[in-house]
Subunit: 343 residues, 2 copies
């Protein structure tokens, strides 16, 4: 399999990205080719630091980078030679099977949507983030691709999330919840009330509105929301997990007895810390585009990039796109056409 | 001081509410009168269970309860004799200084807005939730009062949050952040972009857009967002804290060594657990109404209700409303009039 890595995007640029690529090539033999897309001089310098001359690497030179201050859609139009655009081009031309990027999420979504197009029946792609609970993992969709979501987009996210849960996470009949203000049918925004009406009669295992407490205490398997809310949930969860371990560490350092306790309990704490560490998840698939695009965290460490490349490799093996197309087709066959969107 | 407690609302009804009231009367001598509003037979039965005949209690009979399935504004119009409406009436008539309710949040917001009206210069009230970080607490506003927020509402929340932070939490010049998708100016929804433009030139100590990671890792003191997003953040934080301690407990039970470690470290874990336990906070003020209304958690335990009554007593002492009116007046004096809202 062949993967194109945007070697420029992300808060830390080529050093972390190339280091992650080197780690991935060492561990994942199934990667036959890894395109490193970006400034070739910088990429070569980083490879040299690692003493890496793996012949599976192919550098694809790109002269531009999408900055975090760029606007997503205009960046794709204006910066034609950006690393993320060039990486997507490789997939478009069939030279690569998947893209991985830690850069500007909006630009990655825009480039993938413009160049690869969406799957039949899908209007907007959504990011499917996988989050851990004690006993479970769940899919949060959309975790930040589409902040101006319409009801039909959220309906499509529900189907895509359920397909992902079934085919990748192996939940048989995943429960689907809609993020709202309370679990009663009448609660929520105009958007969520509209989506509720669409999800209720669908073939999905829809449990209704959910609140934050259903995320971790009484978890559902697919959590549906718009990209703004999803991104807030994702970032809040990451932040609070990191902060609580930091806090625990400081509290454990206060007395000798606590230090001893922390030492004896280190494996218990470590288990949870590893499971809640986003670096272990690496990246989230952008579902709904006609191709495979993995969105990694902007602040990705080399380990996170390595794991994002693993997610890309798994996604190439799993091929969820045909299942998404089939589910959406079946939904439209069995359901009266949607009312035209009101703008 | 005199407080009116909605003795019917909340997931557990009179038993928890009356138990919390009894605890509060025991500890807070500054409460001269506590109205328990609701079904008098049920309230009396609960008081009897606690052997409580404190003469500061006055039962105000109300025949109706707003159910969680009621729609907020119509519930206030239709159920004129609901416990929450009657409790607000006591404040309206000057018989009580503050209301505390754990019932339907939307109904409490609607009843307070309709009966008490908003403060001059404030269009919509917002819930100010106080959340802990390791080194800090911050105000999250709006935590769920107003889900159809317009830009000027969020601007007003920023001012109210800053007043609360200054006068109640004693931060000198609190930093204010706007919840968005990234910290760059160009990111966000139409709503947040509009609010950004208003906050930037204001007299507030505005630090710009913030993401979830700024909540706990690099915290600001006032976090501004619409009520849907704020409620999602609040509930997610509560849920994840509860879930992580549960998880840690299970991991610590797995081996004898871990059990010993957990025992020695119990005070470290307990410190964090207490600080993140919403029961200790009790309730959040609904800022912007011409009166004092404290919104408690629907699932409030007696301890949470006791603490919500403490928050009400503190709010009566602190009187932030005149400061809010003054700040908003000064803002309008120094700023060109807002464009009319577009609908």
């Amino acid at each position: 399999m062949k993967i194109a890595l945007d070697a420029m995007g992300g808060d830390f640029g080529p050093p972390n990205l190339v280091a992650g690529a080197v780690m991935a090539l060492r561990d994942y033999r199934q990667i036959n080719k890894l395109f490193l897309v970006g400034d070739s001089a910088q990429i070569e310098a980083e490879l040299k630091k690692h003493g890496c001359n793996d012949d599976r690497i192919e550098i694809t030179h790109a002269t531009q980078v999408v900055d975090m201050s760029d606007r997503a859609w205009s960046a794709v139009r204006r910066k034609k030679d950006s690393s993320v655009s060039r990486a997507v081009d490789l997939v478009k031309r069939g030279q690569a099977d998947a893209i991985v990027t830690a850069g500007h999420t909006g630009a990655a979504v825009a480039a993938s949507t413009i160049k690869l197009r969406t799957l039949p029946g899908i209007d907007r792609p959504g990011i499917a983030a996988v989050l851990p609970t004690e006993t479970n993992v769940f899919v949060l969709i959309d975790a930040g691709a589409n902040i101006d979501a319409r009801p039909e987009h959220l309906l499509q996210y529900a189907f895509m999330g359920a397909v992902y849960s079934r085919h990748v996470l192996h939940y048989k009949n995943p429960t689907v919840g809609l993020v709202s203000l309370g679990d009663e049918d009448v609660k929520g925004t105009e958007l969520t009330k509209e989506v509720f009406k669409m999800l209720k009669p669908s073939s999905l295992n829809f449990v209704g509105n959910i609140e934050g407490r259903h995320l971790f205490e009484d978890p559902v398997e697919v959590v549906v929301c718009d990209g703004f809310v999803g991104n807030v949930i994702l970032k809040t969860c990451e932040s609070i997990a990191v902060a609580m371990f930091q806090w625990l560490k400081h509290e454990l350092m206060r007395t000798t007895m606590r230090k001893a306790g922390g030492f004896l309990a280190r494996n218990a704490i470590g288990t949870i810390k590893d499971k809640t560490n986003y670096e272990e998840y690496g990246g989230s698939p952008l579902l709904g585009v006609n191709g495979i695009c993995i969105i990694a965290h902007g602040a990705s460490t080399p380990l996170a990039i390595k794991n994002a490349l693993r997610v890309a490799a798994e996604s190439i093996e799993q091929q969820v796109n045909p299942h998404i197309v089939e589910e959406i087709r079946r939904y439209h066959e069995t359901t009266a056409p949607l009312e035209p969107a009101r703008h």
